[in-house]
């Protein structure tokens, strides 16, 4: 039971670690993450890796869409840039994975800045459509620039390696993906304690007012684009190492929509929401697959209906959350926490 805590300084209010209770639960959560790969089967391990990648990319998009208010339909394209960078580097050079991943992030950030340039002139939905155009061009480049991207056949790459260690199994990839995800979420959390992060939020709330307050709009919007695509690039690079094959069809427009949906279902402008949304949206299709497998003995044609059901559920989740729970899973989470915090005084 925790009733409240009085904060007496601005630093205390901005602090990430506010209480012993919070530290305890976070520590427990990290411990579970650490133990997780040793106790679960390979399928759950695979899901764990997928969620980790999704968390990184969703956090990136959350910075751009949730915190800066710029809608992007190009997230999958930026991930593709990262994935192709990693694939190309690992085929043509002998760089270890931390370097290739970093370069993937930087490359995606550079492309992100380029795509963000129209944000000088256009905003809102026009900007969303500019990013849509960017993702069309990126897909075109992935498919047609055969000498670098391998055309429609794509690229296959060797497993990630570092100091003679190769990461060919899901088990080993888990120890790259999940620590990186934790680190990057923590980094994002810290960004929003600085001037840069507060400038993002000011731009989201009202860009003209933000400009009057002395925030250089173009600079901060581009910074947000760069940061967000950096996250996407890292996620894409991990994606490349995880599947070890990259094709233009790995990053369709529907993937950009998937990440936008994850941000919305989780809760826009809330990092915890991004994490919950990424996990939820990744796990729902898998749960449906399990359900179908369980139903197949009784209804032999259940698998036929799985893919349409998936589409319907995906759409219904987006519509349902936006209409009934616009603040997303994060709000539900807060409600649960409030219940326990106020128990037994509430009733």
């Amino acid at each position: 039971m925790r009733i409240g805590d009085a904060k007496q300084s601005y630093e205390a209010d901005e602090a990430i670690w506010t209480s012993q209770t919070q530290k305890f639960w976070l520590g427990l959560f990290l411990l579970i993450l650490l133990v997780f790969p040793f106790v679960v089967n390979s399928y759950l391990l695979y899901l764990g890796c997928l969620v980790g990648i999704a968390v990184i990319s969703t956090t990136g998009l959350n910075i751009l869409t949730g915190f800066t208010g710029l809608i992007s339909l190009g997230q999958a394209g930026f991930m593709g840039v990262g994935a192709y960078t990693v694939a190309w580097l690992s085929i043509n050079t002998a760089l270890p994975f931390p370097v290739t991943l970093l370069l993937a992030g930087l490359m995606a950030a550079a492309v992100g800045i380029l795509v963000g340039l129209p944000s000088l002139r256009v905003k809102g939905l026009y900007l969303a459509i500019a990013t849509l155009a960017a993702s069309v061009f990126l897909h075109f480049i992935f498919a047609e620039w055969e000498s670098v991207t391998g055309g429609m056949g794509g690229l296959s790459l060797e497993p990630a390696h570092l100091f003679g260690l190769t990461f060919q199994s899901d088990f080993r990839m888990y120890f790259i993906i999940v620590p990186l995800a934790v680190l990057m979420v923590l980094a994002a959390r810290n960004v929003f304690r600085t001037r840069i992060g507060r400038a993002f939020i000011a731009i989201r709330d009202r860009d003209i007012s933000a400009e009057i307050l002395g925030i250089n709009l173009l600079r901060y919007k581009l910074m947000s684009f760069a940061l967000s695509s950096f996250y996407a690039g890292i996620a894409g690079g991990l994606f490349a190492y995880f599947y070890r094959v990259v094709t233009p069809e790995s990053f369709p427009l529907s993937m950009s929509i998937f990440y936008l949906a994850a941000v919305i279902v989780g809760g826009m402008g809330n990092l915890l929401g991004g994490i919950l949304g990424a996990a939820f949206m990744t796990l729902v299709p898998e749960a449906l697959k399990l359900l179908t497998a369980a139903l197949t003995p009784f209804y032999p044609n259940a698998p036929v209906f799985m893919s349409p059901m998936l589409e319907i559920i995906f759409g219904a989740l987006i519509v349902g959350f936006l209409i009934f729970e616009p603040h997303g899973l994060a709000e539900i989470w807060h409600r649960i926490r409030r219940f326990f915090r106020l128990w037994p005084f509430r009733n």
Binding site: L125, I129, V136, F140, P308, E311, F314, G315, I318, I323
Partner: protein, 292 residues
């Protein structure tokens, strides 16, 4: 350069552009009245085309009965979507409303796959088969007659919105909702009617396009081309929808014929990108002034 070939390609492109103009008109009507960017318009077209398939193919009705039924079905769908899913979003941020229409698009694709499976389908042919010659230029009959039917509806719409009471109500609502409401216009009804009429235009175009090119659950991708059309023309401009529709249809077909199918989307999106940088509000769109 083979001018005859270029002429034929251009003609086919312009005819296709006429249908784009019709869909874009549907899009603009919805945008003008409700300020909603409808990413589901391609899927509404697809749904109507599948309805036509069910009426004309499955139930073996005459195509000329099935066509109006499918179009009315599509417009009812539009009305229902507005009433149940768009109305509750009134006053929410544009991002949220756009995402709702994307969600609706997914639901419609799922429904279509559920009912008619994901396999590509061919619509029963109902348009005359004799080839059409304009001067020396050959035009595929499906495209030519599709263009004629589409243009007929387009002209009816233009006259309706220019002269009828409903059209005036729509334009009044578009320019100032509160003023329109206080002048006795039933704004909520205008919202609903805009979706009905917009979906009606899209539905007719959907059946006509599907009749020439076949039908599958991926049909809704045409919505992206329409998005290019309306952005280039200006989101709230009927004239823009017409001009840009014809132009983009022509460009897409010519790029596809001379450079290859993979260049269709990049070519139109290049025009989109240029327009966004030079004239962010489109060729004929209203430049909105923002105040704090």
């Amino acid at each position: 350069m083979d001018w005859l070939f270029f002429g034929e390609i251009s003609l086919a492109g312009l005819a296709m552009g006429g249908l784009y103009a019709l869909i874009a008109l549907g899009f603009v009507i919805i945008y003008k009245a409700t300020k909603v960017i409808n990413f589901a318009i391609g899927e509404i077209m697809m749904f109507a085309a599948y309805l036509f398939l069910a009426f004309a193919g499955g139930m073996e009705l005459s195509p000329w009965i099935a066509l109006p039924m499918a179009v009315i079905g599509g417009s009812i769908l539009g009305g229902v979507i507005e009433k149940t899913m768009i109305r509750p979003m009134l006053g929410e941020s544009p991002i949220s409303v756009v995402m709702v229409t994307i969600g609706i698009a997914n639901i419609l694709v799922g429904l279509v796959e559920f009912i008619w499976t994901a396999d590509p389908q061919l619509l029963p042919n109902f348009l005359p088969r004799e080839p059409v010659f304009i001067g020396e230029l050959y035009l595929a009959p499906k495209i030519a007659y599709g263009f004629l039917i589409g243009s007929a509806l387009l002209i009816i719409y233009l006259l309706y919105f220019r002269f009828s009471r409903g059209g005036v109500a729509l334009r009044a609502t578009a320019s100032d909702q509160a003023a329109a409401y206080s002048m006795g216009i039933n704004v909520r009804r205008v919202f609903n009617m805009a979706w009905v009429f917009g979906s009606l235009a899209a539905s007719l175009a959907g059946v006509l396009v599907a009749a020439t090119g076949g039908l599958s659950p991926q049909f809704g991708i045409i919505g992206l081309s329409v998005l290019v059309v309306v952005i280039v023309g200006g989101l709230d401009s009927i004239l823009g929808a017409l001009v840009a529709g014809v132009f983009i249809g022509w460009l897409e077909t010519v790029a596809g014929a001379y450079l290859g199918g993979e260049y269709r989307m990049p070519a139109t999106f290049l025009v989109l990108a240029i327009i966004l940088v030079i004239r962010p509000y489109g060729l004929f769109g209203t430049h909105e002034i923002e105040r704090v």
